[in-house]
Symmetry: D2
Subunit: 350 residues, 4 copies
């Protein structure tokens, strides 16, 4: 149950209602001018209380803060160089791993020219085997930040532990939580407290509900600056593609949630010659940005050699996806009518 | 191993080579001006024989006839009202089931107006339960044919047995083999002999190789008029989408095979409000057509009520996917360079 | 809704109720002394009618005939040499394909000695590629029947089309429907009419409900002599096992349905050295029999070379699974208490 | 490549070889009396060096320390009250969450009586939603330890972060890493350094190779006290079972690795009435122990209400699985012959 107060919020009334809840042993949280109460469908409000309330919503999904029931309009995340979400289209690109300073400096210039406004690059790498290259750590972050600043780009980089959040915070604009850590709940809580935007990748076999509940761990810390990333799910056939890009999930996430949704075609395909097709498909399905691995010389990359694009292949892709984005662009969220559609949808699956 | 003869084929030499194979107990088949020999990598050819040969290909996938190794250029299927494949984009639409004459007559006019050139409609329905509506049978086919003829449309309809192929043959232009019958090998052989184009849907958990091998059952009967249909695969999450549309498979099938590839967003989504997103994604990934369920009053449909579009929702979708198709259109197959890419690709995965 | 009549059935009353249904445009079927009415929860019965009725069941799954709601006690299938189901344990074994007369004659003796009472062997083979060995056809069936008769064994063999049912009928005791044809509904209807026991294999990605509904296609033809075969499902990991044996499905099928359930560890594993472990697991989970591929010289087999056991490996396995079967044997179905458990279960998932 | 030195190791020679590797820029690690060298197939050894070497193994999987190539014989983990692995069978049981002191004290006595020698209980709970009960934390651990000590049981409990490892260390005998953290590589490294046995659960969609590589992260810290837990994988059908227990993986893990393998039937089934069947299947497939959720009053449990067994249902299950374990017990590892089988196996799949 969500009690949405009229603005400016009547603080006295709100405190009164909170007291009532406490006495009834109900659990509630306050976000913006909303009071979310769990496992409760009805609360008696007297006339004075009712007068202070704009709306009472009695059906909401468990991931309430991330839902369109809680916030009908798109979240737009503002960083130094970007507005992510809404009608904007954001291109994030860069190498799988930061391998040395020269390569990241050169790549930053190239992806900027091609149209990227965020540079990606791994310093802490989640590798299947402990004997594989594990990333350059803080040194890599330093290279990445310098390259980004030179070009006027934002930085996105992956963190895998609370300690790494602390190390990366001075260098990055957006934290990335990888697919393997989507349900690393302590990490989600920690990154929720870190006060910067978070790009959350879908787990390899995570349901849409699990992904939105994982995002809720971040949101429940008061951080609603969340980007949802579809990067392919595991299927029975990996002969030609590493994963299956779930374009339906992109469309569903756009409906259920107000967070920006972007597509990662690189990990979904696993093969450079399929990246463009998957990127275009993801954007046609509604993605508001893409996150693409680009490397000067993919064959010699220290990780993900098979799936990184050359800058030469990346540049025309950016142009094509921007055209598709313009073509399919339609307001996901109107003021009145479409809100009710969202609500109905959510209820149906609640 | 494929021996491609120079044209016109030197029949004497070809017969000589066939004799050699027979003596060596090798199994070979003749298609067009190609001799395909299984499980053999090398064959000694004398000078005269070599002179009659255009090219010897030593690596090919098991589904040889469907591969770009065998035929580099796109197959284009010509029906009364359509050219399917190549740079063309074909819209197929109509109800899940033909329910009565009035509805199919009305729908034929509406989907034609919206841009469809093929009408679909089930007369023999593969239903999960024996107690569900099983289709109108031949009566339904008669209605469908009449409606199509009135509008100048081709007909596509599903058959599930050899008997039904015989019944449907006078009424349909394209046979459809459903997902549940993708590996019904006797049906594939029978439809291969029927001499009409066949749209083969991917099985719910069929790999890309299995799908191409299933198509090969049809092709081995001498019928290369095959359309490959991606209609979504089964995944671990069916809360919001019935299946997961595998857009990567569309891109891969376009590369490996010369057959036209089309997308069925209706069965992939299972929910009408997701059909448009999936259709657009499929076309952005390279689909050369789409097959969409359309019904005047989906809520009252006798089958697939949840996923059918109204004509009003269908019409703007056609326009948008045609724009996307135009945008992503690029020759999949050039004369020299791209052929070699294909070959390399195929070999890598052979 | 199921109306179970007292026995002997009062025919006049039953006809009266059938007339009522017809007038109300309800669809009902008569099986044994039960009247099954679809999509109806309530029917007004007068006192006379009520007196003729033993029980009215208002909740039943769509696959009503196969459910324990319809028949609480285990089905036991009686063939010349076997009683399959209930507390019995049935061993079916033999080669993937009948390759020649000598091999099947020798194998029949060996599997009989090891404890098998049914011999399997493919004459019509569902092969992924049209260019693979397709089986010996009727010649193979003749060899198989002769070998079985010499040893006093029943025969089980796969059919893939209506035509093959006709060819195989004189030679086989049990028809097998393969995984790829689990939802070949025309085949299910045809084999339902053929009047012999049918072993139905679970499809590669078939849900339990879909499997029971597929069985219902056979049952709806009046043939309740059905054996359910769990043979492994497709998963994301096929590096070491071809499929994943779903032991949970064995336990669930035993609860929901009265049909015998057997395990096929050969297709589930795909590797001979895992067959024993999977067979034991399946039996521990409740399987009432096993279907195992055995070949004199697996490495030289014309199909499934990797997964066939030698007779020497097969014999001790039979002993061990029989011990496990004896250990886990408990009545799945008592007269009163457990029936209600079954009913509750079915309702919960209906 | 693994160089296994004769014992006692000739330290001078070993250092000499290490110097050689360094000069060649090869990466090697020393474990026990083995030198593991990555990405190298051949190393020239002079006569003196060869004399100090027992064996050179040139093919090994990436997860070398966990493989039977590195250690052919079973690992046996010794705790205060248990020897886990080898021919032993270990029963671990207890509630999903420690809810209060009384319940865990009572349960400890009951599971001990039923045959358990390890008590499980969650203090830090990985819940899908941040609004669900998150566990009692250190208070819960205190209760759990006290209950275990009173009964002479070992403790196993889950940790989800480096901080929780520190908190739990004084209270637990075995750390559990949950399925959602199987590839939380920083957590694996941290728990590897903690110096206590670790039970590693398979991820929901983790391949067998990924699981063994995850275990290798722990082993590479010098901790080979690892228990592998199969707890079911995600599939397309969750109507009746929450996950699919992969009994084939149990058999494969026993072959490839020397670590103890145990089965968790509770999370695999998700429904109490299926736990026994899955437990029996897992043990029949080769599991050397089981980890079962038991609760006095499952319906009132704060988490996993549907899948916990009552003590009354648990006790007879222990007896039955112990009988099955005795029945299927066979030496997985003999001195000579079976080692070579393992090696061959590993090579085949390397």
């Amino acid at each position: 149950m969500i009690i949405q107060f009229k603005q400016p919020v009547n603080q006295a009334i709100m405190q009164e209602i909170l007291r009532k809840l406490k006495e009834a042993h109900y659990h509630g949280i306050l976000v913006k001018h909303h009071l979310v109460i769990f496992d409760v469908d009805h609360l008696d409000l007297n006339q004075r209380e009712q007068a202070a309330v704009a709306q009472v919503i009695t059906k909401q999904p468990r991931y309430v803060l991330g839902s369109r029931v809680f916030q009908p309009e798109d979240t737009i995340i503002r960083t130094a160089h970007n507005q992510i979400g809404g009608a904007n289209f954001t291109v994030m690109a860069g190498p799988c791993s930061v391998e040395n300073q020269a390569m990241i400096t050169e790549l930053a210039a190239k992806v900027k020219t091609a149209g990227a406004t965020v540079i990606r690059g791994g310093a802490f790498k989640p590798r299947t085997s402990p004997y594989d290259f594990q990333g350059l750590g803080e040194t890599g972050l330093r290279y990445l930040r310098a390259a980004a600043d030179e070009q006027g780009l934002d930085v996105i980089t992956e963190v895998m532990s609370e300690a790494e959040i602390g190390i990366a915070a001075p260098y990055t604009d957006i934290f990335q939580i990888g697919a393997r850590n989507m349900q690393n709940f302590d990490l989600l809580k920690a990154v929720g407290k870190a006060g910067k935007p978070v790009a959350l990748k879908r787990g390899l076999a995570a349901t849409i509900d699990e992904m939105l509940n994982a995002a809720e761990y971040i949101a429940a810390q008061g951080n609603l600056q969340i980007i949802l990333v579809e990067r392919g799910i595991r299927s029975f056939d990996s002969t030609y593609t590493r994963n299956v890009l779930d374009v339906g999930a992109i469309a569903v996430l756009r409906k259920l949630s107000h967070y920006p949704v972007i597509v990662d075609p690189s990990h979904a395909s696993g093969h450079a010659d399929l990246v463009a097709s998957l990127a275009k498909a993801g954007v046609a399905a509604g993605a508001q940005g893409m996150l693409v691995e680009v490397h000067q010389d993919p064959a010699k990359a220290l990780s993900d050699a098979a799936q990184q694009l050359t800058p030469a292949a990346f540049a025309p892709l950016v142009q094509q996806v921007q055209q598709i984005h313009a073509l399919v662009q339609e307001p996901m969220q109107g003021p009145a009518n479409s809100t009710s559609v969202m609500k109905k949808n959510v209820e149906a699956h609640d």
